[in-house]
Symmetry: C2
Subunit: 123 residues, 2 copies
């Protein structure tokens, strides 16, 4: 990743302004407002480059296409709204995770996903 093109700027800005994880398609639509004619392949290539350079983190939810968010947010989890399909960040961790780890297993990491309806859809 060596050149700072219009496309790359638009993609970074879209991720920054969104404030929540975006799918490649959402990202394409958002970035296209600045760069008309932006191609989906460019989005994928830049996501890969930005990920390799540590700018973004991949958010993989079960059964969902991957989404991307800016790195450096510290430990958090996600809430997936089943109504609007949007993903929100959730602060904090539930209780004692090690307590439910089976005997002899080495716990390295964990992922936690909440499902339901967001405040907007619940209203």
């Amino acid at each position: 990743m060596q050149r700072d093109t219009r496309q790359r700027k638009a993609i970074r800005q879209a991720l920054t302004e969104a404030g929540h994880p975006l799918s490649p398609k959402e990202l394409l639509e958002a970035a296209r407002e600045q760069v008309k004619g932006l191609g989906i392949a460019t989005v994928y290539r830049n996501l890969k480059a930005l990920h390799e350079d540590g700018w973004i983190t991949t958010v993989e939810l079960p059964g969902e296409p991957p989404r991307y968010e800016l790195s450096g947010k510290g430990h958090h989890h996600h809430f997936h709204c089943r109504a609007c399909d949007r993903v929100y960040e959730v602060e904090g961790c539930p209780g004692d995770i090690k307590a439910i780890t089976p005997q002899g297993f080495e716990l390295e990491d964990h992922e936690f996903v909440l499902y339901g309806r967001c405040d907007l859809c619940a209203a």
Copy 2:
């Protein structure tokens, strides 16, 4: 799902004998030992039918292809061993999940995945 064909029997048996969640491809290979010439489309169709009839449950892990396991195991989560790539069942839930749900959000469900090394690989 009305007829009990050779193919359907083979698929059910493969799932039963495996004892852990299987991907469609793994399932195809396992079931082909009994039914030569079994097609991948048949596997998918039967997975769908078995799922709709409640025989099997879909296990979706982030960034992983879906796997399938027999139903009726009650609420549990999964431990994904990064060394042997096997998925184990984990009893119980961590502490207060509602406590970290954002204000105004309606919590319906949750998914929880542990990552690390299983007892066999840790040894």
